[in-house]
């Protein structure tokens, strides 16, 4: 479904990603792990068209994303839950969700998708008329996920879901993601390695802008190097 090959990405004159290759098949849950500044968010930015590719290609369902603008990538069925949630603070919960359905693929289905999001996160229904900025961190994360789902994406990108959230809230949100089913493929960036490996089938490890390891999440979980480096055991 998604195939990243030989991708180099720069921010200004500084190279951030080197020769990245990864693949996600339809229905899969894949995690990207790596320490701060490794380039995980930059990879998300490259996939969504926020950062241009210097070399290499990204294909989504066979179509190249190179040179497309973010608004065009969204149109194809890729939605991002960005690092730091980035909900529209001055817009209500409802309006935030409506913005998610802005792409043509989502708009005709707006009512039904919103009902589905409220089913997934009942708290959002209670807060429907509240401004996004007044929500708690966990609720904002739910809103950011809900907003992304409103465009009926086939591929959902999630960046640092658990950042700054209480473990209980994180668990609740991961459970909701599990409930999405096979029709939504998920590629997630997660700093909490244990969580990431638990909720994914496969994982890639990114260090200093390069993919250094990949494998089945269950195997990585048992790997002594990984346990030592990321789990502190």
């Amino acid at each position: 479904m998604l195939k990243v090959s030989g991708v180099d990405v720069y921010r200004g004159e500084t190279q951030i990603l080197w020769d990245i290759a990864l693949e996600v098949s339809a229905g899969e849950r894949v995690a990207i792990l790596g320490s701060n500044g490794a380039g995980k968010s930059s990879l998300m930015a490259a996939i969504t068209g926020v950062l241009p590719l210097r070399n290499g290609d990204i294909r989504f369902q066979g179509q190249s994303l190179a040179g497309l603008k973010p608004y065009q990538v969204t149109q194809l069925g890729i939605a991002l839950v960005p690092e730091g949630r980035r909900v529209y603070k001055d817009m209500t919960v409802r309006e935030n969700l409506e913005m998610g359905a802005f792409p043509k693929r989502g708009r005709p289905m707006l009512k039904g998708s919103m009902a589905r999001v409220f089913e997934l996160f009942p708290k959002l229904r209670e807060r429907m008329h509240q401004r996004g900025g007044t929500l708690s961190g966990g609720e904002q994360q739910m809103l950011a996920i809900g907003r992304a789902l409103m465009s009926l994406p086939e591929l959902l990108l999630v960046d640092e879901l658990s950042l700054g959230l209480a473990p209980r809230v994180t668990k609740e949100i991961y459970a909701a993601l599990e409930g999405l089913g096979k029709e939504t493929t998920v590629l997630m960036v997660e700093q909490n390695v244990e969580l990431a490996l638990k909720h994914s089938r496969r994982a890639y490890i990114v260090e200093s802008g390069r993919v250094t390891r990949m494998g089945m999440s269950a195997d990585l979980m048992d790997d002594t190097d990984i346990r030592r480096a990321y789990l502190g055991m």
Binding site: Y71, L80, E98
Partner: protein, 285 residues
């Protein structure tokens, strides 16, 4: 005397608010300060003079046509002058400054230095609450200005275009990720900002005729409104406009006409001292 000054203040205040909304829209979406904003106001006044006076169209039709024409010109200006400057705000500042001078000189060449006045929409005067006699044209201007502002806010709140504008001014990159073609939105917003100036221009020009350089104080006041109301707040623009209109007229009536602009800056400094983010601005989060 007091009631009359307040009414005068409201008329002018609504016009300031309308002009400031255009500035605020363009700043919010594009981070561009359009120095020629006042000249678009004047241009609309001249258009409405041309359409209604010279060509003999109905004044209301002439107004609508003038606003539409200025909207289109705004779009062309964005496409040709502003678009190449994205990423460097200083360039757009300089370019729109030059544009304002070019427009003023063109007005002078075409229309001469004398005031031009589109015809009134209504005649006569009304006795307002039995307090004073007030020109119907001014009352009509007040109502029309308030109506355009109400329409603009309804558009922001109720339409997809309004949501696009609010989302983009809050988080441009996120809005783009939500499927908004922000480049195209820039163009439309710039046109719309000019159209708001134009609306103010056609509404007020029957009361205060236009001259080639009359846009300068209008734009200046609009910039002050935006800062006074709080950068990025549309309600702030309206509040700022009304405050400035009232202060200016009350000051002129009870102190002296000569200090009009002094009052404006005094209020600005006072408000910024007490609330650095303006009347409705959010303090840094």
């Amino acid at each position: 005397m007091l009631a009359l000054s307040i009414t005068n203040g409201l008329v002018i205040g609504i016009i300031y608010a309308l002009t400031a909304l255009g500035v605020s829209l363009v700043v919010g979406i594009m981070n561009v300060i359009n120095f020629a904003h006042g000249e678009f106001y004047i241009l609309a006044g001249y258009f409405s003079y041309l359409f209604a006076h010279t060509m003999g169209l109905d004044p209301v039709v002439a107004m609508v046509l003038s606003i539409a024409a200025v909207f289109l010109i705004g779009i062309v200006v964005e496409y040709t002058l502003i678009r190449p400057t994205y990423g460097d705000d200083l360039y757009s500042l300089i370019l729109t400054f030059i544009l304002s001078i070019v427009m003023q000189s063109t007005f002078l060449l075409v229309f001469g230095p004398f005031p031009n006045k589109p015809p009134n929409w209504v005649k006569g005067a009304t006795n307002v609450f039995g307090l004073f006699l007030y020109g119907n044209q001014r009352l009509a201007a007040l109502i029309a200005g308030a109506a355009v502002i109400a329409l603009f806010f309804a558009m922001l709140k109720l339409t997809w275009f309004g949501r696009m504008i609010r989302a983009t001014s809050q988080d441009r990159e996120m809005a783009e990720l939500n499927g908004i073609n922000t480049r195209r939105l820039n163009m439309l917003s710039f046109g719309m900002g000019c159209a708001l100036a134009a609306a103010a221009g056609v509404i007020l020009s029957p009361v205060f005729p236009v001259t080639p350089s009359a846009g300068v104080p209008v734009a200046l006041t609009a910039f002050v409104c935006v800062v006074l109301g709080g950068m990025g707040s549309m309600w702030g623009c309206v509040a700022g406009g009304l405050v400035l209109g009232l202060v200016e007229n009350l000051g002129a009536a009870f102190v002296s006409t000569g200090y009009k602009h002094v009052f404006m800056y005094l209020i600005l400094i006072l408000v910024l001292l007490i609330r650095p983010s303006g009347l409705f601005g959010r303090s840094e989060t």
